[in-house]
Subunit: 314 residues, 2 copies
């Protein structure tokens, strides 16, 4: 079964890791959000791409989900002591990725080229695509009237400001990577991994042409919300601040226009009927991925559920 997975950061990376353990490279393509990308200390940083790649390469820090394992912080400890710009902390090994990528981009490579190159060097066999080579930048509008760059909101302000909306600057004219669009076109199944619907999956869907190809495919989403709370990050807080009670069903509703199936946690089984009413096929299981075996287990269940959905929709 050929799968195209859309992913943001930690949650998405975990499910992608499970899928990559089960599917050969020609049956899984991953399209990654770049709306979180930003320039910091002159470095081009692509947090979601790095999280997905570090996870697949076995380099990710298991405690945080992002950054590298066995990391040290010599440069940033020294920079902090100097009073330098240190609100987004970069580990010593992680820094090498950013220096390498920034130099490659400056030399004229595209983000997808340098991503392919890095994946090759990290031994990643599955194709990982940034959603676009054109810059898309997520901005968060806040109740106080401020408009914050995503990392400014997410890391520097620790998601404290109350959110009133999102803007994906550049998305309206950004060209999706053609190979990524083809991967969706050729997929039997599209999986929206358990990433933030607003700021991780949203920017990918906001680019011209993406929804059009996705609408023609069976699409399964895996909920990033369990028991009304986000497994990681501000997804639940964002739903709440936007006037929507955060729940698995709220995620399904968010995607309902094109969603075929929806995977939610067994804890949220009470929402199954509501989801069925929207003609979305629900599937409840344990969706919390605590360790690596959990990822493959959930990926297996999602793929099996995908088979069911495909058979039912034929």
């Amino acid at each position: 079964m050929r799968v195209a997975a859309l992913a943001g950061g930690v949650g998405g990376a975990k499910l992608v890791d499970g899928l990559a353990a089960l599917l050969p490279p020609d049956e899984l393509s991953v399209i990654v959000n770049t709306g979180d990308d930003f320039e910091y200390l002159g470095l081009q940083i692509s947090p979601d791409l790095d999280t997905v790649c570090y996870t697949l390469a076995g380099l990710a820090n298991p405690a945080t989900g992002w950054g590298q394992r066995d990391e040290s912080w010599r440069t940033f400890e020294t920079l902090s002591a100097l009073g330098g710009l240190d609100w987004f902390r970069l580990g010593d090994r992680d820094l090498a990725t950013h220096l390498y990528r920034t130099e490659a981009l400056k030399k004229g490579q595209s983000l997808s080229q340098v991503t392919r190159d890095l994946c090759h060097k990290w031994g990643i066999k599955h194709p990982i695509y940034p959603m676009s080579d054109d810059p898309v930048r997520t901005f968060v509008s806040t109740r106080q009237g401020e408009v914050l760059g995503f990392q400014e909101y997410f890391v520097h302000r620790a998601c404290q400001p109350e959110v009133t909306g999102f803007e994906f600057r550049g998305a309206g004219t950004a060209r999706p990577i053609p190979e990524a669009l083809d991967a969706i076109r050729n997929a039997d199944l599209v999986i929206l991994t358990p990433s933030n619907p607003w700021v991780s999956i949203g920017p990918i869907l906001a680019m011209p042409g993406v929804l059009a190809v996705i609408r023609q495919k069976p699409v399964i989403a895996v909920s990033p919300i369990v028991d009304g709370k986000a497994l990681k990050g501000p997804a639940a807080k964002m739903f709440h601040e936007l006037g929507i009670a955060p729940s698995a069903a709220a995620v399904a509703a968010h995607y309902r226009e094109f969603l075929t199936g929806f995977v939610l946690d067994a804890m949220d089984a009470a929402e199954l009927d509501k989801i069925r009413q929207w003609r979305i096929i629900p599937f409840a299981t344990n969706i919390i991925m605590k360790d690596r075996p959990d990822r493959a287990r959930l990926a297996r269940e999602v793929l099996d559920f995908g088979e069911t959905v495909l058979n039912r929709s034929q």
Copy 2:
């Protein structure tokens, strides 16, 4: 005695360190070559400024003379493993300096402002001035017809290409830091530290207005060449390739137009008469600085010699 010292990298930094141990901050100003500065991996690197500052701050690596002590190389080891640009290796702690400086320059600070700021943070009390806030870039012309940026020649090509000349791009219009020029004007004595006459002291003297103020001062140079060999770096090789037999006297001759006194090694005492013929007062002693006490000892001798020179020239 108010002293203005002109310095390049390791040798100059050592003598400056000795002078700083003897003179209070209001009696010693240091003007540092920036012709070696370059952009690398998006970072603004000022090798001579860093060597002087690290040395004065007690942060310098005693084995190399440049870079920081207790340094680690996690970022560059990782970057090398990725196949990244690694011919100019930056340690993890050193990297913080470059990130800090680059960000400050990008925010609109001048090089002299960020240098003052860094010196303050490193606990350096003596004023250290980059020679200019305007970019001056040393290029090396080679026998093969190549024109190489200085670090390309010095580090990447390990000084291998045969030198035919130097170009200090930007020096003709670069404005010396006014406080640095004032420090020279107000000095009782100007000391050219044992740095490379061609590429360390040369760029400073090439800026408009510098020679004019220096000519009005008693000037002592300390030889960077002992027994026909450079204590460090390519100075002797450069003299040779430019058709001049490398020697302490050759250094004195290089500066002879404005030199009052010249300090050379006792090993080169045979050159004393030749130097006297140019109406330069020579002084022979042990000029090799192996350890920190050596620096203060030589600085003491240079200052005492300076007194003699001042008394003789009055």
